[in-house]
Subunit: 107 residues, 2 copies
Amino acid sequence: MYAGRGSPGSLAPGQFERIAKALADPRRFAVLETISDAKEECPYQRLCTLFPITKATISHHLKELVSAGLVETERDGQYVHAKVIPGVLEAYTTELLRRAGRPVAQE
Amino acid sequence: MYAGRGSPGSLAPGQFERIAKALADPRRFAVLETISDAKEECPYQRLCTLFPITKATISHHLKELVSAGLVETERDGQYVHAKVIPGVLEAYTTELLRRAGRPVAQE
DNA sequence: GAATCTGTACGATGGTTTTCTAAACATCTG
DNA sequence: CAGATGTTTAGAAAACCATCGTACAGATTC
């Protein structure tokens, strides 16, 4: 499962596209939001109780988020926790504006 | 064709999701990039020559970008030009970080 | 070791989306 | 108006994706 962590503040090859896709599905984004809202780490089980989808689907979304390099999972015995990798989303928005942003026109 | 222009700097209801989807397809994003690179406006015809897809598909992608409120088209006689609506992408990234961003942890 | 709990991998399915071809629509020129 | 050029729409095919059920693997408990 290649997430592709480049140098801090930058994105690995292909990561930009993977992030864009990961953010595109509303449910998956809501999962990311939930993980992000958690103070430290977010238990997998909590995600399962919060969303009306099966654990298999949660696992699938989590995999996509990890593959995009946005989230990292950690195993604690039987349990799995997820947390947001800091700075990646910022790097994505920076790259997004760099590629498709225009200097704001003055009237 | 509802694009949903809210107050400046903010996004209309549903626009956040439409933008995320519009950005998710690599080809469509490349089209957006091309429009953004143009000094003032980008002719539809140029998009058709630059990408190895049919004009019908270009038209479709353009429609999605307009529907997301990222791009605006203007008819000049037979010709159509596209240009990026300034500030929308910035509003998107701001909202994105607000919803899923974490304050960068200090060591 | 067996039973149980937690999470993942696999295959199937229904819905969405990218893309095409062909036709329609629009605009200009003679 | 007729033809030529430029853009959009309609319909269909193919690829993609979210979701599910089930089966499996690892850890805990009895």
